[in-house]
Amino acid sequence: MKTKFIILSLLLFAILAFRVANDVQFEVPSNFPKPVYEFSKNPLSENKIQLGRALFYDPILSRNNMISCASCHSQFSAFTHVDHALSHGIEDKIGFRNSTALMNLAWQKLFMRDGAINHLDVQALAPISDPVEMDENISHVVSKLQASYLYPKLFYKAFGDSVITGEHTLKAISQFMLTLVSSNSKYDSVMRKQSVFTPQENNGYALFQKNCSSCHSEPLFTNDDFRNNGLSVDTTLNDFGRYRVTKNPSDSLKFKVPTLRNIEFSYPYMHDGRFKKLSQVLNHYTDGIEKITTISTELQKPIVLSSNEKLDLIAFLLTLTDKSFLFNPNYFYPKEIFSQTAKD
């Protein structure tokens, strides 16, 4: 009886140990708030994250098997599409908006520039189905994955089921995206008292706190809300932002406040990518605001900055660059996963 008990508990321990080895605890950076994402409904595991990483880089998600998530979200530019004002999709078709940088998604409630997507798990459906992005549909993606050599094995490893579903596909993509956490910029090390700002950065930080931080709130550098930041309407796009979703006139021309983390590398800026340089962005806030009815209350009083102050502010913004994020090998193209096909 006793031996039976010992064997049983050893067995249980082995199973638990295996589970723990594969389970991944989401680490909340010490200076960050509690995440919004409910991890209990999609518990992270190494195999699911790696499956999601493969899906993120695999053009099989598009109609012609040419465009992947990474096509418009490349790591070196903080997972946006550098140099493209508007996203650039299947067959060189040009999209409607500037693709967003992807990071710290576990802290976001609504997705896309207009908040049309209400949960990270269903976010990928939008680019997959958009006729100028991937032009596919999730049910056909699932049948392509099921027919592939690689994916039934990866889904089995991840979910214990080689029958692929839309739910599992989307949850795996979420898992990889959730790991895209940027929290190791110079700003963060200063906040953790591990380094100090230069006098110029320090002055820039004070200017930032006075003029910018009510919307670009620390430590995520966004309040995760929607604002009209006084951009004139581009009549070739006539994009009214959040109004498109809520049909509420008070939401006209409001767009999601983007994070400023890694902003040095995520140009061009604004929902339509109209500004290429940070100096243009600052000039907009000091001299270019159009006071349309829905203008953000924070921008009703003019922001005044001298040209030296603008330089100081930019020096501070550059402290938000996180090289350990931009070059993290965990986010690279997963050639070891894709080369499995050749190996076995």
Binding site: K41, N42, A116, I117, N118, H119, L120, D121, V122, L125, A126, I128, S129, D130, N137, I138, S139, V142, T165, G166, E167, H168, L170, K171, S174, V245, K247
Partner: protein, 229 residues
């Protein structure tokens, strides 16, 4: 041995009673006085126009049974995608092991807002089922597509995708039917009752949450009746 046979007979007995304690909700479709047959030409009531229905799918959720106004039984994980062209989806079986008496059936036509903000879900709620919007989050509660010679659209097509999980365009409808304590419940949807409320020459395309979508969702809810047989 006696024990074993006792157990066996008990199991048989339990099985036998179980069989009687399954309530069946059978769903059928008519077009006025006729049985609706998908893809066939149908005459509209009072004129010479002809139409055909090519797709008819909707969600029935949160099925509840009441007795004297009080909920006595609720189905767990109660989400059913009903597809007029999938015969298996037209019968919903509800286990009533304890043989609880009830006199009313209540269910939602469509999905509540919590379900709509819960991310990627599985089973009948899997986004591969073609009932999830992609450009904007949210489920389609009710999908009716077809063709009519009065629609001046490409291929004379019309499409009504009704959904919306947020006010003021919350499309969910709650339906309730008094029952005699019966284990065979037969619901019928008369599609003509919907079509005759829509001016197809003018309205032939609803694809997003709106006041029109909510109005049409109410019309759809009213087109369900409890059949006598």
């Amino acid at each position: 041995m006696i024990k074993a046979s006792l157990l066996l007979s008990f199991m048989v007995l339990a099985n036998a009673t179980d069989a009687q304690q399954i309530s069946t909700i059978q769903i059928s479709f008519t077009y006025g006085s006729k049985v609706l047959s998908m893809d066939d030409s149908l005459n509209q009531s009072n004129d010479s126009s002809v139409l055909r229905i090519t797709q008819l799918k909707f969600y029935i959720s949160k099925i509840k049974f009441l007795n004297h106004g009080k909920v006595v039984m609720e189905e767990n994980n109660s989400f059913h995608l009903v597809d007029a062209s999938q015969i298996n989806s037209l019968q919903i079986l509800i286990d009533n092991k304890q043989n609880i008496p009830f006199d009313e059936l209540k269910f939602n036509l469509g999905l509540d807002s919590t379900t709509n903000v819960s991310g990627a879900l599985g089973g009948d709620l899997d986004p591969t089922k073609g009932m999830y919007w992609t450009w904007q989050s949210g489920y389609i509660n009710f999908k009716l597509e077809g063709k009519s010679n009065v629609c001046k659209t490409r291929n004379n097509e019309f499409a009504f995708h009704l959904g919306g999980y947020q006010q003021p365009y919350y499309g969910l409808q709650t339906l309730s039917f008094p029952l005699n304590n019966t284990n065979r419940i037969h619901l019928n949807l008369d599609v003509l009752e919907i079509i005759k409320e829509i001016n197809l020459t003018k309205t032939n395309h609803i694809m997003s949450p709106s006041a029109e979508a909510v109005m049409l969702s109410k019309i759809v809810a009213n087109a369900f009746t409890l059949s006598k047989n």
